[in-house]
């Protein structure tokens, strides 16, 4: 059983990070979560470069929870990079953001986001939503076969 990261959480606000982790913990999904604090780090992580150059490509996460409002490189940019890369595009990306701006919705879907969730203010709701999303993508959904393993 590899020690792989299963969920990549891209979020800059520490309080929001904590809440999200709490929500995921409540549903026993918090085992292998990696948190990155901005868009640049997210891309470094996924492309195994920069500060994460020691990672292996075939260790791609099974789910990316992506906030859209990020410093340095913003969420939509990250989304675009992910979906443009032939190896990474199969990873489900769930936008988890405060914004319900139509502009963000449209562009996210145009760029190929798999799901778009607006973070509820009410914490109970928040927990429920995060749980539902996590369970769905991690348990119910069948992921794409890992490209790296195929090619060995």
């Amino acid at each position: 059983m590899r020690d792989a990261v299963e969920i990549l959480l891209v979020e800059d606000n520490p309080a929001d990070i904590e809440l999200t982790l709490l929500a995921l913990q409540a549903h026993k999904l918090a085992n292998r979560i990696c948190v990155v604090r901005d868009g640049e780090e997210a891309l470094d992580f996924l492309f195994c470069r920069g500060t994460h150059s020691q990672r292996k490509p075939y260790e791609a996460p099974r789910l990316v929870l992506l906030d859209l409002k990020l410093p340095k490189v913003n969420g939509l940019e990250v989304l675009k990079e992910i979906k443009n890369d032939p190896h990474l595009r199969t990873i489900p990306v769930v936008a988890l953001t405060s914004s319900k701006e139509e502009r963000d919705l449209i562009e996210s879907y145009q760029l190929g986001v798999n799901s778009y969730i607006q973070k509820p203010v009410d914490f109970d709701q928040f927990r429920k939503v995060v749980g539902q999303a996590g369970l769905y993508w991690m348990v119910v959904n069948h992921p794409a076969p890992p490209a790296g393993e195929e090619q060995g």
Binding site: N13, A15, L19, L22, S98, P120, V121, F123, D124
Partner: protein, 624 residues
């Protein structure tokens, strides 16, 4: 084209030129014919006169002839008597009378011959007479000489032998014939002459009458022409008078010039506007003379570009604007609007140009004011729009950015309650509860505010909507709120409506949620949805038998954050009705409420045909 009644009538009769040509020819023809007839008659009369004269000659001629015939007759008879007498008596007196007669015979006969020369038959007879006479004379001469020489008996026998009596009888007969013939001829001729004369009289009377008639007709035509011309002249005069009066009374100036630039017309208004115009200023000097400038007010108007100058070259100019400086004024303050056209004669040759212009100084000033006002308005409009946009953007971003910290407050207070709640006493837990509630309420407020603000930015997407379906959807969604209570829904027939379905659903969601909420104390809640009013003024209403409200506070109902009930009685943000009102106004409609405390409330609204925010009653608050 100057179309007056007289001219129109003339057009029906044919143009004056056409008519003139026609009647002139007819008149000339008639006149010539009349003259011809008169000349003809005169000629005929000459002929007739000559004929009569000839006849007269002939009559005289005949009379002469008859006279001569008589003379001859007498001479012959005389000669017979004389010669017979001598033969009998032998006296010289008879001889003298015989020779006297005989001597006259030859001249008479030759005269006779001469007179009978025109008629061959008569001529023949005359010749015969002549012959017979000469024979008779011969015989008588013989008889006389016998008597003279040999006496009476010889004479008598000579007499007997010479057949004198027969001769004389033949001669006399011939003479009678001549006489008769001549008389016949005369009668014949006279008859002919008479009939010719009668014919001539007839012709001359007829011709005379005809020519008189023609002349009368000609006279009449000329007279009528004259009358018409007089009438045309008076019409011309009156139309000219009208034109002149128009030109003199017009407010606009009218100036006409011939191709050389000499002014042919300069009406009083033109003089007033331009100042006196000397008649013979060449076009090059017009700018200088009248102080004409380009619209900038400082550049003199190029003389050859002046509308009238251009018209003289065949161009048409419309509403050219220029400024003029009148004598005594420091600058060109007056504005003129000039329209010029070239003038052509019927053959299309340029005969000059005419310019019409008016003083538009006031209009220009008004236009400028309007332009300025417009600019101001636009500027203000731009300002307003900018500030509106700022406001919307501000509202949105504020609400939006407030969510994250709010989530954190709520979230962590929840977590504390769950994980450390047991470590807190009842009061502590209670305080945590308050924090949670506060955060939750704030969340709802923010959501509602965000919603309200979004409405301002969204364009309305109208389409025919089955609002009955919307109502049913909302009802289904409210089931969880009803939660087992007895709620009777009376949803009457609702017509399809032109509206934005999404927004309309929100309207019903808010109104029905309110109804559900405020009927909570009721054993049996009754919620009605229907249409009231008639024809043009139909309104949709939502009625409930809930706690209602006092009409005293009706004005506050639709205000943002305004509530008529305490938060612990009925939860709410006070934004719901404001949102509904915003949506209804965006549709161009009205909304109002009727209520009675303890009995219930009815909310009615109309939707307009056009989008927009209609008059806002003073009691309503401005929407966010």
């Amino acid at each position: 084209m100057f179309s007056s009644v007289p001219e129109r009538r003339a057009a029906v009769r044919g143009t004056p030129d056409q008519r003139a040509g026609l009647s002139t020819r007819a008149l000339l023809a008639s006149f010539v014919v009349a003259l011809g007839i008169i000349a003809g008659i005169h000629l005929l009369s000459q002929v007739n006169s000559r004929m009569l004269a000839e006849n007269q000659e002939k009559v005289e001629h005949t009379l002469e002839l008859l006279q001569v015939v008589n003379s001859v007759r007498y001479l012959v008879v005389e000669m017979r008597a004389a010669s017979n007498g001598y033969v009998i008596a032998g006296e010289d007196i008879y001889l003298a009378s015989y020779y006297g007669a005989q001597s006259q015979l030859d001249p008479a006969v030759s005269r006779l011959r001469g007179l009978a020369a025109d008629n061959p038959q008569q001529q023949q007879r005359c010749d015969q007479v002549g012959q017979l006479l000469s024979t008779y004379v011969q015989d008588r001469g013989y008889v006389i000489s016998e008597r003279k020489l040999r006496g009476a008996e010889a004479g008598t026998s000579a007499l007997r032998s010479t057949k004198g009596r027969q001769q004389v009888e033949s001669i006399l007969r011939l003479l009678s014939d001549i006489d008769e013939e001549e008389q016949l001829l005369l009668a014949e001729r006279t008859r002919k002459v008479q009939s010719a004369s009668v014919r001539f009289t007839l012709i001359s009377w007829t011709g005379g009458s005809v020519s008189v008639a023609l002349l009368l007709v000609v006279f009449y035509c000329l007279w009528r022409e004259n009358a018409l011309r007089a009438q045309a002249e008076s019409e011309l005069r009156s139309s000219r008078a009208l034109l002149e009066s128009i030109l003199n009374s017009m407010g606009d100036g009218v100036v006409a010039a011939d191709p050389e630039g000499r002014f042919t017309l300069f009406n009083p208004a033109a003089e007033q506007i331009l100042g006196r115009g000397a008649s013979a200023i060449p076009p090059q000097q017009w700018t200088e003379q009248f102080g004409v400038y380009l619209p900038d007010g400082v550049t003199p108007y190029p003389a050859e570009q002046l509308p009238l100058a251009r018209a003289l070259r065949g161009a048409s100019v419309d509403c050219a604007e220029m400024r003029i400086r009148r004598s005594g004024e420091a600058s060109a303050v007056h504005w003129l609007s000039v329209t010029a056209r070239p003038m052509h004669d019927v053959e299309g040759r340029l005969t000059g140009g005419v310019a019409v212009f008016g003083n538009v100084t006031d209009r220009k000033r008004a236009e400028e004011e309007i332009r300025n006002l417009n600019h101001e308005l636009e500027a203000r409009l731009a300002d307003l729009r900018a500030s509106n946009q700022e406001l919307e953007a501000f509202t949105y971003s504020v609400s939006h950015d407030l969510r994250a910290p709010l989530r954190q407050v709520h979230g962590f207070s929840k977590v504390i309650a769950e994980q450390y709640g047991s470590k807190l006493d009842a009061q502590g837990q209670h305080y945590l509860g308050r924090i949670e509630q506060g955060a939750a309420q704030m969340g709802r407020l923010i959501d509602d505010l965000l919603n309200l603000s979004r409405l301002g930015r969204q364009p309305l997407r109208r389409q025919p909507t089955q609002i009955a379906a919307l109502v049913h959807e909302v009802r289904t969604e409210l089931e969880s709120e009803i939660n087992g209570r007895t709620v009777e829904w009376r949803i009457l027939s609702l017509p399809p409506v032109d509206c934005d379905p999404g927004l309309m659903k929100q309207v019903f969601a808010n109104l029905l949620a309110n109804s559900v909420k405020y009927t909570r104390p009721r054993e049996r809640a009754l919620i009605e949805v229907g249409v009231s009013g008639c024809n043009g003024d139909q309104a949709i209403f939502v009625r409930d038998n809930g706690v209602g409200f006092s009409m005293k506070y009706a004005g506050k109902l639709f205000g943002v954050f305004q509530r008529l009930h305490r938060a612990d009685e009925f939860e709410g943000t006070g934004v719901g009705l404001a949102t509904v009102q915003r949506i209804v106004h965006k549709h161009g409609g009205r909304i109002w409420a009727d209520g009675e405390e303890g009995k219930g409330a009815t909310f009615s609204f109309t939707l307009g045909k056009q989008d927009g925010e209609p008059q806002q009653p003073a009691t309503e608050e401005a929407a966010l």
